[in-house]
């Protein structure tokens, strides 16, 4: 069951999962992707979900997004939800600005306001002057920036991110981490960020939640008390990342047994 409460968006969005399970298929071939997961993301928090592949991270996001239904348990979300995928998923027949404008249109923003608002959002992600370009004319990093601008155009309270920087090179990813920090600073944005890159999780999150594989369960969580601005190559980030990696390895060796 998914409960969505849009009225609560004034105070910022939040996500609450209570003993959520998701089973794909039936009978002997059924796969239990998520098992009794309980997780709360309070308003304004940046939570990173980390786990080996097959731990149901993406499934979890789909449940929160309402793109899929849980088998049991409750998923409750307050506020508007937007999602970013590993691929930018931009519409190739529209320009960068057109993609952002379509999100504004879907939200019911009038024609006259769409253009200036889209320009402002592209400016927010450092893409002013690229509004007229089509997705294929932009680099991978720029496309993800447009996708971020499009997500912001949805005026979401909760932003779900499914390994959004996974396909980018390290330099571009670094820049986009800074960008995300900056974009978030001005807003009351609750973020649930899925990644398999431990350092990325520590660099970005207020909290890192570790999931086990098959079925996905919450096995541990770590607060990230490191002051911002952070750097992915700073000592405290590396130190905590090492600790989390050890925990993750331990979990994976359990799984392999």
């Amino acid at each position: 069951m998914t409960v969505t409460d849009r009225a609560a968006s004034v105070v910022g969005g939040s996500v609450q999962l209570t003993r959520v399970s998701k089973v794909f298929g039936r009978g002997g071939t059924a796969v239990r992707a998520l098992d009794q997961i309980s997780l709360e993301v309070p308003p304004g928090e940046f939570t990173c979900l980390i786990g080996a592949s097959g731990c149901g991270k993406s499934t979890l996001l789909s449940l929160v997004a309402g793109l899929e239904q849980s088998t049991s348990g409750t998923v409750s979300v307050s506020g508007r939800v937007a999602i970013m995928f590993q691929e930018p998923a931009l519409f190739p027949w529209l320009t960068a600005a057109g993609n952002v404008e379509l999100a504004l249109r879907a939200r019911g923003i009038g024609r006259a306001d769409r253009r200036p608002q889209a320009a402002e959002l592209l400016d927010t992600v450092h893409l002013s002057g690229f509004g007229g370009k089509r997705p294929h004319e932009l680099s991978g990093g720029m496309r993800q920036r447009v996708a971020l601008a499009r997500a912001l155009a949805q005026d979401a309270d909760v932003l779900l991110m499914d390994e959004p920087f996974g396909a980018l090179d390290a330099m571009t990813r670094d820049l986009l981490h800074d960008e995300l920090d900056r974009v978030r600073a001005g807003r009351q944005l609750t973020i649930l960020f899925v990644t398999h890159n431990v350092r990325e999780a520590v660099r970005l999150g207020d909290r890192v939640v570790v999931l086990s594989s098959r079925p996905g369960r919450v096995v541990d969580e770590f607060a990230v008390p490191i002051e911002r601005p952070r750097r992915i190559d700073s000592a405290p980030v590396a130190e905590l990342a090492a600790k989390i990696t050890d925990r993750l390895r331990e979990e994976m060796s359990h799984g392999a047994r």
């Binding site: 793109l67 939800v81 999602i83 691929e87 519409f91 190739p92 879907a106 089509r134």
Partner: protein
């Protein structure tokens, strides 16, 4: 000026560089015209060469004396074509044929798009007629003529009917394929944006299916053109000169020169329309980044 100055004074260096570049630069307008001319010539010369080779081979066969009495040479045929182009009859015939092509293909697009749209949306309808559409697509449209002639008589309607039967299934299938292959990721993104129902169709599914739809149109056109030519040879309407009527008359009078000239006209019209579709297809691909920009 001391030699050292040149190295140290940067502004002077930049100025000199700008001056040098200005010497090389061609005014943008002139450069564009030149680029266009180069591209035009690059596209043109292979075609000119191919035509020259065909004419040469044709002339050699003619000169060899094979079927000397009936097989025309390129010279006589082209002269015949030129003569016909100066009379009103050929133009009248081209007009009739083109009009039928436009009306028939237009109807096929309309009907094909409506059927394709409905079938792609309504699951039971797809289960009912999905394979029927594919079956119709593979059916040689000439087989429809007895049916059409009995139903509509020797009329333009009979010809148009067969054009629609030939072309509409391809057009419907193009649209259905386009809707089916809308990338699931884009659908998820669209739904998360809040696109639902009709707006999901208008802003996401229809634009996403455009390339497949254009491919369907192109194939539909090929079927329409074939059906039309077959129809004009089978359904001869008195006092309505068309390319088919001219061909049929030439056959009756064993006028090989004129028949060949008309075939050339039909070929050229086919190439012309094909070029229009290719241009549309290419411009979509370029806009979407599906093809390299040459």
């Amino acid at each position: 000026m001391a030699p050292g100055d040149e190295r140290t004074s940067l502004p002077a260096y930049a100025e000199r560089l700008a001056w040098l570049e200005a010497q090389d630069a061609v005014p943008p307008q002139e450069a564009r015209v030149r680029r266009l001319a180069v591209r035009f010539w690059a596209a043109l010369w292979p075609k000119v060469l191919a035509i020259a080779i065909v004419l040469a081979v044709w002339e050699v066969i003619h000169a060899s004396g094979w079927k000397k009495l009936i097989f025309p040479g390129p010279g006589g045929t082209l002269a015949n074509l030129w003569d016909q182009l100066r009379t009103g009859l050929l133009w009248h015939a081209i007009g009739t044929t083109a009009e039928r092509a436009v009306i028939g293909f237009g109807l096929a697009v309309l009907i094909g798009a409506v059927i394709g749209g409905l079938v792609s949306r309504i699951a039971p309808l797809r289960a009912a007629v999905g394979s029927l559409i594919t079956g119709l697509q593979t059916m040689p449209s000439i087989a429809w003529f007895p049916f059409a002639i009995i139903l509509f008589g020797i009329t333009t309607t009979a010809i148009l009917f067969v054009i629609v039967m030939g072309a509409a299934p391809s057009i419907a299938n193009g649209l259905i394929a386009g809707v089916d292959y809308t990338p699931p990721l884009l659908l998820r993104a669209g739904k998360m944006m809040g696109l639902r129902g009709l707006s999901l169709y208008r802003y996401l599914i229809l634009p996403a299916s455009l390339p497949a739809f254009v491919a369907g149109l192109r194939q539909g056109w090929a079927f329409a053109w074939r059906s039309l030519m077959a129809g004009e040879l089978l359904v001869i309407i008195a006092n309505q000169p068309s390319l088919g009527v001219l061909l049929s008359t030439d056959q009756d009078q064993a006028d090989m020169q004129s028949a060949t000239a008309i075939i050339i006209v039909i070929l050229l019209l086919g190439i012309l329309v094909h070029t229009l579709f290719s241009t549309a297809d290419r411009s979509i691909r370029r806009r979407w980044g599906l093809a390299g920009t040459e």
